[in-house]
Amino acid sequence: MADKVLNVRVVSPQKVVFQDAAASVVAPAWDGHLGILPGHAPMLALLGAGSLAVDLPGGGSRSFQIGGGVLKVEGTEVTVLTEHAGDELPADLLAGFVIHPEDVA
C-alpha cells in the first residue's frame, strides 16, 4: 500500500489511447464492473464492453468506451488492453463483446 497512485495505460491495437497517473480505475470486466485502487493485488481480468472510468489524482476523470480485451494489474501498473477504445462504441461491436457467464463459468 505504499504507492498512492496507479500508472494507467489504455492500449488499443492502433495506439496508446491514454497513459497517465490515476487515483482509481473502474473497468467493465466480463462479469460486472471492477474497481482498482492503489495497492491492488496482481490481477488479470477479462473485459467485456462498456465504459472505462479513470479518476485522476488531482480530481476529475476520463472515461472511454471500450470493448473486449484484458486488464492487467501488476504493482502500480494498470494496463488495459482493449480491441476498441474511443468516445463511443458501435452498437454491433458492443454486442460482439458481451460475454455470458455460463460460457466461462
Binding site: P13, Q14, A29, G69, V70, L81
Partner: protein, 286 residues
Amino acid sequence: MAGARDVKRRIKSVDNTRQITRTMELVATSKLKRATDRVYAARPYAEALRDVVGSLYAPGMSEKYPILRQPAQVKRVAVLLLTANRGLAGAYNANLIKEARNLLEDLRRKGMETELHIAGKKGIAFFRFRGEEMMTQRVDIGDSPTVEDAESLVGPIRDRFEAGHVDAVYVVGSDFRSAVSAPPAARELLPIRPKENAASADTFILSPAGDHILERILPLYVRNAVFTALVENVAAEQGARRTAMKNATDNAGEMLELLTRSYNRARQAQITQEIAEIVGGSAALE
C-alpha cells in the same frame, strides 16, 4: 546537323521522367512517415498482449482448446504471403515472393502439403503465372490496414487450423527495422509455442480462470500478429519505394548532365562548321 536536335529531344524526355520519379519519391516519403508512426503506435499493444499470453500459457491446456493444439506431425501447412498491390518499389515485392518460394520449397521437400493465401496484386500475379493454386486472393487491403482487414484475412485460416485442416500457419511479410532496412521474413503464426521459463500467472488473481481468459485472448493474439505484419508491410513498401525512386531521380540527374554536355558539344560543332563554311566561301571568292 541533326545531332543537336535529337539530343535535345532526349533531354526533354529524361527531364520529364525525373520529375515523375521525384514526385513519387516525395509521395512515398510522406506516406512512409505516416506508416512508420502506425508501426510504432501498434507495438505497445502487441508487446503487452504477448506478455499476457506468455504468463497465462501453461502446458496441458493444448488438449482442451483447438487453437492451442500442438500437432505431433505436420501434414499440411498454410502460408500467408503479404505483398503490395503496386510495384515501382525496387526489389520489395520480388524479395517477399522469393522468401515465400523458399519456404514453400522447404516445406514440400520435407513432404508437407502446402496451401497459399496471398494478399496483394503482385504476389497473386506471380503465383498465378506459375500456375499455383491460391486459396485466398486479396487485393482490397490499402495503405492503412485495419484490424478488420487482419481479421478477415486470418479468420478463415485460424478456423482451418482449429478444425485440423492445417497443422501450421506461416506469415511471410517484411520485418520492418527501419526505413532502409526491412528484410522479408517468414514467421510461424500457429501453432502457438509455449514459452520456456514463462512467467507463471500463479501470483495473479485471475478472473475468470486462466484458460478461459486465454481462450478469449488467443484469437486476438493471432489476429494482432497479422495486423502488425500488415502495418509493417506498408511501411516497408513505402520505404522501398522511396529508395527506388530516389535512385531513379539521381540516375536521371546524372544522365541529364551527360546529355547536356553532348548537346552543347553538338551545338558548338554546328556553329564552328557554319563559320568554317562562310570563311571557306569568302576565301574562294578572293
